[in-house]
Symmetry: C2
Subunit: 294 residues, 2 copies
């Protein structure tokens, strides 16, 4: 297919390469032009603007950071909406607000341009290995038409319902991911302060009802003091803000998620925004005067 | 071996049966005598008191509810300490306070009686199927001597360190279990309130970094409105209290666990104490005016 790709960051760049590997022609644009140039050796074609990217594309993919960024590249000056052909598709794979998603989709629909929201889980590793889990909202038939794209980017895509429901599913994922990791961090801080053998405890708790992807993967990294990012603190802080905003819009009170959000705000403020989410444990370490290290 | 078993509740009764099946001779005692009588057809020998249980036993196992219960059956009137032979072993498999454990072990040591703390994870299902995960504190050589007992009761036992460290490991387990389930419940409440297809979201989130034993098992039960207990609300409320007490003794501030504890106190007060821990979701449902049901 003739594709467009807007946003060539840590996620977007390897995703673009996976689309090219799968045989698609991809025109690309990035706010910082150097990132687009870096991809040109791979077969990606540089475009002048999001409008220019969308011009000849059957499907234009967006992978940027936050709700205002998506609004800017889709609806702003020289935005995708100015170039996209009727009946073409915009797939927003950023993680943004479900209500902003519905607003953008409505604006595109006025020009007969279809939109899917298709945020991902799996982080940079998943983007590189084409093993992302993709949660999709929008019209079912548009989802079906875009399956070859999702298959090139991830190992599983799930159709979750109408416009915005992909973003809702992603926020559900982040509520669970953040809460599970907070539980792991709190358990490990408790263990370290108690003076128990951390390796023995880790082996004991992974064997039963306490086990999780977060424990096995990020818990193990915490014990090795490895804070390299699979998913960054500042991005999780953003997602937790989106969850709060969406919960307030629905008037749904949450208990632990807002507290965990404040924890991420605190460690982000301390300059740990570029570390992996497992750095959340450092907040507990500081409060308790203890280091979790096996 | 000649064993004693004190405490024949939902956990203790099937554990006793597994010990008998493994070829051990077991004398039993329970505060409510009917429960001991019910086991007599299985080969268990009824004793008159904890003291009487311990009299001829190489190893006496205790499986009761809380710290004061263990103190009562071990150190109280006609307690185990009055019958236990020098060089025999008391294994406390209840989940109680690490500091109370150290106090009881010291009292037993004055009579040359050894003690292991060996709380379990895996609930009633694990007790019945001999698939418990057992976390052990005490002297290593005593642990080694008792391995045939642990092998008859569980599929994994882990030596965690000196006296009290089994209880510490269990509390670590409970911090993680409670926090992970709270995250699952909060995510599912958010999903339900959003109107997204719950089955689709469940499938999407189990595929990646959000997955956990709690999500796969108790999340699935929540969607089916199945609140039968694997582990009861009132027992989790007790364990969360023990965690708080131990954290305060160590002067370790915790963030989310105390809040989750209050949630369990609230649903226990409402009369849901005999339901499974997944009933925690009902608190969020009540606050948000929503029901999580697929």
């Amino acid at each position: 297919m003739n594709l467009g790709f807007v946003g060539l960051g840590l996620m977007g760049a390897p995703m673009t390469q996976n689309l090219i590997k799968a045989g698609h022609k991809v025109r690309v644009w990035n706010r910082t032009p150097g990132k687009a140039t870096a991809l040109s050796g791979t077969g990606a074609i540089q475009a002048e603007s999001p409008m220019d990217v969308a011009g000849g594309a059957e499907v234009t993919i967006v992978m940027v950071t936050d709700s205002p960024d998506v609004e800017e590249v889709v609806l702003g000056d020289k935005g995708i909406i100015e170039g996209a052909q009727p009946e073409s598709v915009v797939i927003d794979m950023s993680s943004i607000s479900p209500s902003v998603t519905r607003k953008i989709a409505a604006r595109l629909q006025e020009r007969q341009v279809n939109m899917l929201d298709a945020p991902v889980s799996g982080g940079v590793w998943g983007a590189q290995n084409a093993s992302l889990s993709i949660m999709v909202g929008g019209q079912r038939e548009i989802y079906d038409r875009c399956l070859p794209i999702f298959d090139a980017l991830g190992q599983r895509s799930t159709y979750c319902g109408g416009t915005g429901m992909g973003q809702v599913a992603k926020l559900v994922n982040q509520v669970i991911v953040a809460g599970t990791l907070a539980a792991v961090a709190e358990g490990l801080a408790f263990a370290a302060k108690s003076g128990v053998d951390l390796t023995a405890v880790f082996n004991a708790v992974t064997g039963g009802a306490a086990n999780s992807w977060q424990l096995e993967n990020l818990g193990a990294r915490i014990l090795k003091r490895d804070f390299a990012p699979g998913f960054k603190v500042r991005m999780q802080a953003k997602d937790l803000r989106l969850i709060q905003e969406a919960a307030l819009e629905m008037q749904l009170p949450l208990l632990t998620t807002p507290l965990i959000h404040q924890g991420y705000v605190a460690i982000n403020r301390e300059g740990l925004g570029e570390e992996g989410t497992q750095a959340y444990v450092k907040l507990l370490e500081r409060l308790g005067g203890v280091e979790v290290s096996s």
